[in-house]
């Protein structure tokens, strides 16, 4: 392709801007990573920018020696392991009947509105909190699972995917005497694998990332999932992590280096699922907005 001089300049300009954008996303993380691998005197002296000075793993050792951190990490893992299957089962069970036409399932529109209204209107924070406390769910693991068990947005996405499954397949199965559950799990679910994968990944990320429920529904910090625990130690600026029992670390680890290390350990699971997410997130980001 022959490019005029103007076009070439435009190309270069374009690439430069995009590269700057990328740097603005990478450099903050790089800075934090460098801090987490540097010794505290170097960090305090302001010598660390994007490369670790006086490289050490002590901050990570310190973080991983904290039983609070372990416990919170474990609760978060449990939250994902229980919460994601609950989300997915509910999503499948609800999306299938909702994908029927009104002729096939008379109450379909009623149920659709029943769920969609919750996306538009909510009772707000205080009544929500009071109901959960009346159910004696405060400090219970299930308070992290049940209030978020029905992901309406995901249900809408899957319902739309189910509507595109050719009717002929279902009719053939019906003639063979298959019931709705068989049809759902043998025909619909396998045909919508890509959408299901998207929803699983979104559900993993949202369970891993959520902190607010943990923070207000758990009274005892022992019950915090990781993000809520981090909220209390990383964001609250007056809390210090280190106590006198951590003397052995004092010369190389500071609050700042250990906070940086914790943030990276907490981000690791997201980094691990990110390549898979990337494969699918176009589906998630464009729901219904782009007509094929």
């Amino acid at each position: 392709m022959h490019l005029s001089k103007q076009q070439k300049i435009f190309r270069i300009f374009n690439c430069v801007i995009l590269s700057i954008l990328c740097l603005s996303c990478i450099l903050p993380f790089l800075n934090l990573l460098a801090i987490s691998f540097s010794s505290s005197p170097q960090v305090a002296a302001g010598n660390v920018s994007f490369w670790p000075e006086d490289f050490t793993l002590k901050s990570y050792k310190f973080v991983l020696s904290k039983s609070e951190f372990y416990r919170a990490f474990f609760i978060s893992v449990m939250k994902v392991l229980v919460g994601v299957p609950v989300n997915m089962i509910i999503t499948l069970l609800v999306a299938y009947p909702l994908s029927k036409t009104k002729a096939e399932f008379r109450s379909r529109n009623f149920y659709m509105w029943f769920f969609v209204i919750t996306m538009v209107f909510s009772g707000g924070l205080v009544p929500w909190y009071i109901i959960i406390s009346k159910l004696h769910l405060i400090d219970s693991f299930w308070a992290l699972i049940l209030p978020v068990a029905v992901p309406v947005y995901n249900i809408v996405m899957l319902t739309n995917a189910f509507k595109d499954v050719p009717k002929g397949l279902e009719e053939a199965a019906l003639i063979d005497g298959a019931g709705p559950l068989t049809i759902l799990f043998r025909i619909y679910a396998p045909l919508c694998k890509a959408m299901l994968a998207t929803l699983v990944l979104f559900s993993i990320v949202s369970h891993w990332n959520s902190w607010f429920e943990g923070l207000i529904l758990m009274n005892r910090p022992d019950n915090y999932p990781l993000q809520s625990y981090l909220q209390t130690v990383v964001v609250n600026r007056d809390v210090t992590l280190m106590s006198n029992s951590d003397l052995q670390y004092f010369n190389v680890v500071s609050d700042r280096t250990s906070k940086a290390a914790q943030m990276f350990v907490a981000t690791l699971p997201v980094i691990i699922v990110y390549p898979f997410l990337q494969k699918y997130f176009t589906t998630g980001a464009t729901v219904g907005a782009v007509k094929e």
Binding site: R11, I17, L18, C22, S24, I26, P28, F29, N31, L32, A44, G46, S49, I90, L93, K100, E104, F105, Y111, F114, F115, T118, V120, F121, S122, G123, G124, L125, V126, P127, W128, I130, I131, L146, A149, V150, Y153, V156, G179, N209, W211, Q227, Q231, V234, V235, R237, R256, A260, M263, V270, Y274, L277, Q278, F281, T282, A285, T286, G288, V290, E292
Partner: protein, 313 residues
């Protein structure tokens, strides 16, 4: 045969109801329950007496909140942050999509996307930790860089003049990459023959962008705008699964010295309701906010349906 069919339909319907049952119960408890709990906005609620036993005070709570001196200020803060976030979350993603589209399908484009989409998937707890560190006036790398240019340290999170803009910029930083996906998808769906036709008519690159690309993007842009209307009282800008909200960001980054410009409706509700125990007042504010948001959201969806045939159901 017909009768058999009807029996089958009935049997299937019964199964459908059963499949929906667990979700219906959960939604009644955790979504409709709190809606019924809105009754406390009309009560002088005390947790000991409960929803049924608390005294009714009519519209007293609403009269009280509209007389709160800082209510309008908080509404103003919320609107300022929201409007900039909504506009920024349209303008920048569109620009990024246009630029990425120019690059063509290359490894470079793929890498750029991988990098700029990433922050969307991190929680505001992690990102707040990150911003508190890098924006710190004494130790943060941003102020170190400004210092190297001879600029005095800026208290991005502690100065009330800066705070709302810091919120807007950090939110855009997190979301613009992800937001560009939908526009990029629209761009790739444009019929290439339109460009060829424009070229034959003698249109240059800029002319093509204005006459072919922008009109093709317009419906998506307006659609995204309509769908984000509902978040205008949440200081949110993007459309996301949880109905976007600026609460998670601002709650983690604000402090009493920036309440004057940084306090938004949701953080006010949180402090009044869960920290100060003014349950009824907090609920009343939340209720007014919810009703206005519902009206805006319904309007947005209605326009989206009428105008763009966008149907979520």
């Amino acid at each position: 045969m017909r009768k058999e069919n009807r029996n089958l339909k009935q049997a299937n319907s019964r199964t459908y109801h059963l499949m929906l049952l667990p979700a219906v119960i959960l939604v009644i408890i955790f979504n409709y329950g709190p809606m019924a709990g809105l009754v406390m906005a009309f009560q002088d609620f005390s947790p000991r007496k409960g929803f049924l036993g608390s005294d009714f005070v009519g519209l007293e709570n609403f009269r009280y909140i509209f007389s709160l001196p800082n209510l309008w200020q908080v509404v103003g803060n919320t609107l300022l942050i929201s409007v900039f976030k909504i506009l920024g979350n349209i303008v920048f993603p569109v620009l990024i999509a246009l630029m990425l589209n120019e690059v063509g399908r290359s490894g470079f484009r793929k890498s750029v996307q991988t990098i700029i989409n990433f922050p969307h998937f991190l929680s505001w707890v992690i990102l707040s930790g990150l911003f508190i560190d890098i924006l710190s006036p004494s130790e943060g790398i941003v102020n170190k860089a400004l210092g190297a240019l001879g600029i005095d340290p800026v208290y991005f999170l502690g100065d009330k003049a800066w705070f709302p803009y810091t919120m807007i910029i950090t939110d855009l930083w997190k979301e613009v990459g992800y937001g560009s996906i939908v526009y990029l998808a629209t761009l790739t769906a444009i019929d290439p023959t339109l460009y060829e036709a424009a070229q034959i008519d003698g249109a240059g690159r800029i002319r093509q962008t204005l006459s072919v690309t922008m009109p093709a993007l317009m419906p998506t842009i307006l659609l995204m705008f309509m769908l984000s209307l509902g978040s205008i009282l949440n200081a949110g800008g993007t459309l996301s699964a949880s109905g976007s909200s600026g609460f998670e960001q601002i709650y983690n980054l604000y402090s009493p010295q920036v309440y004057e410009t940084g306090d938004i409706l949701e953080t006010l509700v949180f402090r009044l309701g869960l920290e100060n125990g003014q349950y009824s007042i907090a609920t009343a504010i939340g209720m007014v906010k919810s009703i206005i948001a519902m009206a805006l959201m319904s309007f947005g969806y209605w326009v989206a349906k009428k105008r763009f045939n966008y149907q979520i159901l």
